[in-house]
Symmetry: C2
């Protein structure tokens, strides 16, 4: 297949720092090339890919330019020139001018729902619901808005070589994420206290609501032996994930995917989550971690931390290889592309 | 003809306050309806028009939302549904998602160049140069970038009923505009001083560079009898234009059109400009005002202020009626639309 991968023009693929979508696209573009497809990646000039790279902007302008309308339109006009002659399918990772133009080209246009269904985005999608082919990143996300025409559900994949198995664990449990209340950092702290375990947290505090959560609710609850890190590199993250006894994932919102669960499990580290969003699809309860009630998280998760020997790290990793690896993702998108091309 | 007029979704048509493009579109949409065409205007719900109004947003979100990428894309996806079946021509007043999508619909897509050719916009246009039909708002603007495929040049039109002729003038000359250095406010002040005339200025000071110009260069030069107003309403503006002996337009940049020159002339008020941008196309030198050197503006414009009796207010107004009225604009766009539909 002749596949166009369109990333937004703000960050490089893969990203130099933060950038979840760009990591997914980097793996997908490489994987599709390895699978024998002709792939053109539209991104920024400082991207690294096995696909044919085409770009307007030599260097990624960075996150302060995210959603800049001039960049977005320029990139789209550049990418979609002669799309009809060049591509069998367009795969868009950004829902703006590329989506509006893509569906008018006549080339089947696939859009992956990387974000959440905010009211604004739900309205935007409503006007293109039957013209694009949508891909959910979990069944839960798809179920949240059934009014769109779906090409399928494809889980985000990770590079299994990057997240290596580690069976011997250090003496701590881990919380990774933002300080937003719905991410449940406070529940993680109370759980570790109750279980009598040392907690390491690597947390992004950027938004003022996160600042407020940190000052008013987290700081007073934090035990003195608790270790808090700010934003960390990918390498630091993998190191923590491999060494942790378990990852606490006490969310209280409909997380569309939750990459950190698969990153942990790939390293052989169990995850204790809640029945929210994609979590029940990602964690195999009792096999690769546990799913416990949000309301009773502290007590139940503390109980499970006493039963960690029941979890086999190899089973955790095997689940990721089968469902959430780069290879699984590439195969998933191949099925979607074949389907939408056949439907036309 | 079945014509779609697409305005961006930030301001109402016509605008409640500031908004040059929205005034032009308001007159054009009404004028095309009056000429017997089937016109659909995509704008905000608080717009007033003789065209069929369609919209996503009930109320204009206002100028702080200008260039919001979510609004822009949502509006475009809404407007271009079934464009192929509904319209013979698309006329876009915004160069973002509507332009990227419009050129893919197969419907001839006309875009009016309401702004200047900044480096960013020149690059954006370069990728759609041969797919859209561009309309310049002056020959000078078109000459600035000949690499685009032009459907023609159409001057912005005004409502002649709104700008009534006034032959008896009050004892002042007028400067209207922003405090940006290239607009030449300082030259206007020096000219009035030299001619011994009272100057009224209605000036927008918004950007920090304009603030700086005001504090450092204008204030020290301003005579004590000089009258300075901030942003004014359309009604106040027309009142000033009608009563002024002359309008000083001492610009030093390639102004793409300069609506205030036609507004002044419609009221029978001569304009003293410079040979920059569209000015030589708008002012008939010696008949509806004068064109004098930028470098020698103060001396030459002061001289012309002594010769105002040579100008016939009726000749000023007649020129606007013929070239810069709503009727002239509607006829101009009719010619463009017929041409691009015939070419396909």
């Amino acid at each position: 297949m002749r596949i166009a991968q369109l990333c937004p023009p703000w960050l490089a693929v893969p990203p130099k720092g933060y950038g979840g979508i760009e990591w997914v696209v980097a793996l997908l573009a490489d994987g599709l090339v390895e699978a024998g497809h002709e792939v053109t990646l539209f991104a920024t000039g400082d991207s690294e890919t096995k696909a044919n790279l085409e770009y307007v902007y030599e260097e990624a302008p960075g996150s302060k330019m995210i959603n800049d309308i001039v960049l977005d339109t320029t990139h789209t006009l550049f990418a979609l020139r002669d799309a009809r002659e060049r591509f069998d399918v367009l795969h868009l990772h950004s829902p703006f001018s590329a989506l509006a133009a893509g569906v008018e080209t006549g080339v089947p246009t696939v859009h992956t729902l990387h974000g959440s269904f905010t009211p604004d985005m739900t309205r935007l999608y409503s006007y293109v619901a039957d013209r694009a082919w949508f891909v959910g990143i979990s069944e839960a996300q798809k179920a949240f808005n059934e009014s769109l025409r779906y090409g399928g559900v494809v889980y985000n994949g990770i590079d299994m070589d990057f997240y290596r198995l580690q069976e011997e664990k250090d003496d701590f449990v881990l919380f990774l994420g933002r300080a937003a209340p719905e991410k449940g950092w406070l529940r993680a702290i109370e759980t570790a206290k109750r279980a009598g375990l040392h907690l390491v947290s690597a947390v992004k505090i950027a938004h003022w609501t996160e600042e407020e959560e940190w000052e008013q609710r987290i700081k007073p609850a934090l035990p003195s032996d608790s270790e808090v890190m700010g934003e960390i590199t990918q390498e630091e993250k993998v190191d923590l994930l491999r060494r942790a006894k378990a990852v606490l994932f006490p969310i209280d919102w409909p997380e569309p995917f939750g990459l950190v669960m698969t990153e942990a499990m790939a390293c052989g580290t169990p995850v204790i989550g809640t029945p929210r969003g994609s979590v029940p699809e990602v964690i195999d309860d009792g096999e690769t971690g546990w799913i416990v009630d949000v309301e009773d998280y502290v007590e139940q998760a503390a109980d499970r931390l006493g039963r960690l020997s029941e979890i086999d790290p190899h089973v955790c990793r095997e689940r990721v290889q089968r469902l959430f690896s780069k290879e699984a993702m590439v195969a998933g998108y191949e099925r979607v592309f074949e389907r939408v091309i056949a439907t036309g």
